[in-house]
């Protein structure tokens, strides 16, 4: 395989990956990866969520941590030295707590050294076009837009028209379980998510929107990576697989890099 993937083609600031595997993590130094994508950050600290935050599902889990994070400023201060030195592109993921947060968040990153791009976490109740336009007005950094499965196909084109450079399909699907008589909602993770994401990705690829597509959901093996690439993805994001088995994710990245070098 020959990899040099441009996630912001025709934009004033490019975002080139040398490897199609992007890892969602605050820091990563164990094997070659295309990019590091941070967990989603908000304008202010967020640490409270109702228990249980994690609920087992067959072959996966439901997470309700309400995007806990230290807030964008603290996180940037903590990591910017490492980012400045990083040869791997750093993409900072953002989630808004209020409709007008996007511009502030983007402006904070525009000043942060070592940041190569932004990933916006949207959901169906967020006005996606307004979020992207606010962000675009505040920064020239490439914008990846991570869509919810529910409406990814419906809003994909509008997101690109509003200024997004690439689409990430998708955020983890929502689910619920009843625990001790109470309904508990969250986002679902695990290998079983993969067919849903693959289906959505393939449908969006068929729209031929002319923008890079990044697949995210249930990826645990080299075969999974190849399946997404063949279904229309230009790159993939891996999230929970490394919590479960970081060593095998490192091997996966090596193997993909080896395929490129051959």
């Amino acid at each position: 395989m020959n990899f040099s993937i441009e996630l912001a083609p025709n934009w004033k600031r490019g975002l080139t990956l040398n490897h199609p595997v992007m890892i969602v993590t605050p820091s990563w130094d164990s094997s070659p990866v295309g990019a590091i994508v941070t967990p989603p950050l908000t304008a202010r600290l967020r640490a409270r969520a109702a228990d249980p935050r994690v609920i087992d599902l067959p072959g996966g889990f439901l997470l309700n941590s309400r995007a806990a994070n230290p807030g964008v400023s603290q996180f940037v201060e903590q990591h910017q030295r490492a980012w400045e030195k990083s040869v791997t592109p750093i993409i900072v993921a953002l989630a808004a707590q209020a409709a007008d947060d996007w511009a502030k968040l983007a402006a904070r990153l525009e000043r942060a050294p070592g940041v190569s791009g932004i990933e916006l976490h949207l959901n169906p109740v967020v006005d996606a076009v307004s979020a992207i336009q606010q962000t675009r007005a505040a920064t020239d950094l490439p914008i990846l837009t991570k869509l919810d499965l529910e409406n990814a196909r419906a809003i994909a084109r509008a997101c690109l028209d509003a200024g997004a450079n690439a689409l990430v399909i998708s955020r983890a699907p929502r689910g619920a379980r009843v625990i001790e008589g109470k309904i508990r909602r969250g986002r679902m993770y695990g290998p079983f998510v993969q067919p849903m994401v693959l289906n959505a990705l393939n449908e969006i690829a068929a729209l031929k929107l002319g923008a890079p597509l990044i697949a995210c959901g249930g990826i645990h093996s080299v075969e999974d990576v190849r399946a997404f690439l063949s279904a229309g993805a230009d790159a993939v994001e891996i999230d929970t697989a490394q919590w479960v088995d970081a060593a095998s994710v490192a091997r996966l990245c090596e193997e993909i890099a080896g395929a490129r070098d051959d």
């Binding site: 640490a47 409270r48 087992d56 889990f61 997470l63 994070n69 919590w243 479960v244």
Partner: protein, 242 residues
């Protein structure tokens, strides 16, 4: 550090506590009280996430861990099987050299972290008192399963968790309980000693820990010092910060 260990034994210790013993020479030497490991059966997604195992004691190159007996990993952790560990995780507890009297307290929620602490305190010549409060949800831990050197007291839900004498005797306190119990502890210490000094009392914060290494933020808490991760800054936190 991700390591593969071999399971020596998988036994019910008592009530809902299961013990898993593994051979792990390096880890047995380095793991400290206050720390934990995350475990999974290799090549198996049922359960998908790693599970929290808390060291109970180490012997030569073996470690005995405690875990929830109802956890699905128990059925996969049969003797001679491989257990994949991410370890050691969490912040280690080091006793202050002036802390000679160690008071341990559980309100029934957990006891394993206290037992490992007790072994370390006893080995370093410290006096240890353990106070266990019986609740409806949890009966009293049997004294026969504790090291002989521990002075063991039990109370019930209608009594104070720790009395003023015990609080005055202690040089350091380590507690496992609910947030409400920690509030009660804070008030009791303030009352007995007029203030709660920093680094005097540490409390175990119960949290789901999917990654154990600061990646997922699912274990986040808001402490007096701001955003903190149970897996990295805890699970024992200074009571003053909680």
């Amino acid at each position: 550090m991700q390591i593969q260990t071999r399971i020596i034994a998988n036994e019910r210790l008592w009530a809902n506590i299961q013990t898993i013993t593994v051979t792990a020479p390096d880890l047995a030497r380095t793991i400290r009280p206050g720390q934990f490991v995350l475990a999974r059966a290799p090549n198996n997604f049922d359960p998908y996430l790693r599970r929290v195992l808390i060291p109970l004691q180490t012997r030569d190159d073996q470690i005995q861990f405690a875990m929830d007996a109802a956890d699905p990993l128990v059925a996969r952790a049969y003797p001679d099987a491989i257990l994949d560990l991410l370890a050691p995780l969490g912040r280690a507890i080091h006793f202050d050299s002036n802390a000679r009297h160690i008071l341990l307290a559980t309100d029934g929620a957990r006891i394993a972290p206290l037992i490992f602490l007790a072994h370390a305190a006893i080995q370093s010549g410290r006096a240890v008192v353990l106070v266990a409060r019986q609740t409806n949800a949890s009966p009293i831990f049997p004294a026969a399963l504790l090291p002989e050197e521990i002075e063991y007291h039990t109370t019930n839900e209608n009594e104070a968790w720790m009395d003023a004498d015990a609080l005055a005797w202690a040089d350091a306190i380590y507690a496992c309980g609910t947030r409400a119990a920690y509030r009660e502890l804070f008030d009791a210490i303030s009352h007995a000693r007029y203030r709660v000094p920093r680094e005097f009392a540490r409390v175990w914060m119960e949290a789901a820990m999917p990654c154990g290494v600061g990646e997922c933020f699912a274990c986040a808490i808001e402490s007096a010092r701001g955003f903190a991760l149970t897996c990295q800054h805890g699970p024992f936190f200074d009571l003053v910060d909680i």
